[in-house]
Amino acid sequence: MGNLIAEAISMGWMALAIIAGLMVYFQVSISDPAVKKRAVFKAFIGMVSCLLLFMAIANYKTNFYGESRLLPVSLVMITVTTFVMALYFTNLSALLKIGGMMFFIAAFLSGYGNWLPQVEGGFPPVEEKVTWDTMSTQELADKGEEIIFGGVGKNKEQGAIGKGQCPLCHAFHAGMLGERAPNLLGLPTRKDRLEDPKYSKGDPSKRIYSVKEAFPGSGTAETVQEYIAESHACPSCYVVEGYGVKGTNDKESPMPVIHKPPISLSLPELAAVDTWMYVREGIEPPSFEEIVKSYEKFVPEADRPKQEEEKAAGATSLMADGTEPVDQIFAKAQCVACHTIPEFLGPSGQSVPSWRKGQLLHFALRIRNTKVLPNRLPTTSWNLSPTPAPLW
């Protein structure tokens, strides 16, 4: 408080001095005692109001970027100032009361905003620079697994998901059913797809699908690797029966083009993904260059995502950026403290409902890019907000 007053005086000493001067002037120049008393008193009120106003400004200045949440106090001070002045400066009474009312509403809403849990969106994830062409096959496969599942060795974890977001729809292991997309087990050996008449190998114009070719002149795949590349670059060039967009009679695929937003995997990243698909089944994968070449056949140069080399400014401390597996996000958010989440770590919940897998993925998306400031939470032991969103 003392600091605030000192700061206010240092900022507003000239205004205060002028009002003090006026007070002296009224004292000296007005002869009628009643009028003099009124004028001096008004000057005094003006001085108090002026001090309050500068205290409010000083508080605003001090706490603008601070995390003390005391900024609305400035608005309360100004509200008090205007109402006090309205009492004594009757000529401006209406204007001051209206102003005071407005400051009061703003103070209430600002205070409310500061009272709520403080959630801040972090910077975009930093993309590390990777030298793909010098990686060993295993390193490349590990990188691929990380892109698909969010980490090495996570491919059997339920709900694990990485930047590529493949497990949102695809299953990868025997016995698992992909409800929205085919199981990818055995993909590197699916030569039969190329022989499917619907695939129309060598003559894309005869295809029955919504898109005939990845781009004009790209042609069709000749090898399994090219088939994989084409599937990523042009999902609607060939749609596996039963997995098309509803209502299109399997002529259009719901799968996004993987090298385009929002997923935007680069060709080397796609090569890493494919390498993992081979390696996990014990099949010798094509070389990195060969895989990249297979993609170049279906992705025109202008469409190829560039590797981001520039590092985004500032530190990133996101609670989740979408690359983490779902269970990790939920563990960080401590959802398991209250909720029963099947197949996830953590104590069973108490009186709150269980969450199903579909809901988990939905919630994972909801808290993406959400960072909760640790120092704004009720206790230091609870380092993440118990509620990332009001969830209504």
Partner: protein
Amino acid sequence: MGLLTGKRVFSIMALCMMVGLLLLPIVVALPSPAIGEEAPAVGDEAKKDGEKVEKGRDVYYKTEGIVVGAPAPKTTDGPKDYPRYNFESRVLIWFANQQHLYYGSFVLAVPIFCMIIEFMGVVTKDKALAKRYDQLAYDFIKISLTAYSLTAILGGILIFTFLTLYPAFFSYLSGIFRPVMHIYALMFVAESGTLYIYYYGWDKMKEGFLKWIHLSMSVVLNVIGTLLMFLANSWIGFMMSPAGVDEQGRFLGNIWHVIHTALWNPLNLHRILGNMAFGGGVVAAYAAYKFLASKTDEDRAHYDWMGYIAMALGVAFLIPLPFAGYWLMREVYAYRQQMGITLMGGLLAWLFIIQATMIGILFLSTNYYLWQAMGRMRGAEKYQRYIKYLVFLLAAGYIVFITPHTMVMSPAELKAMGGQQHPVLGNYGVMSAKNGGINVIITTTVLSFVWYMRGNKVSTVSWAKFGNIFMGVFFVCAYINIIWLAVYGYYIPANVRVGLSVPQVATTLSCLFFMFALNSVMMRGAKQMGPIEWGKISARSQYALIMLATAFTWMMGLMGYIRSSVRLFWHVNEIMRDNSPWAYTHTVGFAANMISANVLFFWISILFVFWLGSLTAKKVPVESKAGIPGSVPQPAASH
């Protein structure tokens, strides 16, 4: 006779000039090489020269086009792309943008009010009332005229702020919109010219055929204003949901695609309604200020009436606003589901809790004003004793509406409660209860309006008794239906529950349309218990208007912030990344402080504008101010 003919010729010439001004930008744009005709021309030329024509695929429309623009710049944090003062550039641009938007909204909304009120004056058979309406319309346009120049100045400041702090981004955006940039500027010239002719021609064209010409001018004025707003909306629409460019952000030659993005139309509708509600709020606040500062009964009566009309217009546009908001959100979800989730269930969700609070405040203020306003009507006392029940309904609905689903707690509190949801209150934090809450609030507001409209009247139609009983039963059934559906929602799966909002909203809208219509029919030729004593309203009611206006302004700032920050770290979503040191989303508290600062600056400046307006000589275009000697003038005999 000759004088009258001369005036007619002058009026028609003025109108033609306005239409000419309106068409000028289009005419100028036609031969423009940048309108999109350029693309095929370049293509043909390139073909002739045997050069390779580069084609790109539209990120939204998925059509192919010839690349005619440069790619979106890949910015880096530094003085080249992000020059700065010793302050956060984003806060500065936020401030400049918001102020321009506030003033822009105001000067676009007020002429629409003016048009409506002037039209009411022209078609009203009661000459005294017609003059009152005309005076009111004139008062409205007078306010907006002073604010108009300030809007232009703020627009200039905004452009300079962009050029100074975000040159790379602004250069890219103006490159994309180059074909329509000069149209925007010319539209602004047309708007200014039209407004001045409209304002200064008021006295000259106050009667007969000339009045119709004058009224036509207001239509032209509003067409220009609306087109201006649509163009400005296309920029923000492009930033949120780009179209007409390829993945690298290169313009593909079709400017219509760039303008007509996925979110353009819902944004247009939402903004028109929002501007009108906001404009109503500002004019109501102006009237409240003048009322509170009035020294005579005559002035109080005039500004009381003005405040009521402005409030009614503002609320009339506030009611459909949530539905336009739903459409916008639906389109957002359709465009990018993740964007919708970030808004409604993720990073920005707490801001929607503030929005819910504000919606409640708006409705509570409106109701409070109406109850206070009943005090100036003889005969309305019969409703006073029932107001406490309305208060109960509103309070109950409001408390349910703003109850969050989950709350911030310490681990000890969490343990003591046994979960994140309170065993009792937690039940009200779900959508089912909230839908019930807000529908109860809106229905109660409709009921307040119906009571206000029949305050000093007694229906004389033969079926009045039946009509009253029918209305009463209709409202009771509506409340029962809304509350029952809200309760029923707890017992059914979520996907079915979502569908319950439709019958709830339908019930509320039925009350709105059917009951207003029925009430109007019943009150036709009704016996008046006494006149409306304009000016004899409590000062508290005027503070309700101030509350309404400030809350509108705050909500506009809040929703604008939400809409803008949903792009997260993109200048142009998925096309041009923000690499400045401010490419993150601020905390809720910081945003609230910033919005408050913007709101207060706007109000302080516009109060200054009001004060400036009061310095000008009182101009009375019609003789109505004289009134009837010896009596306090009554602005309108009815609502």
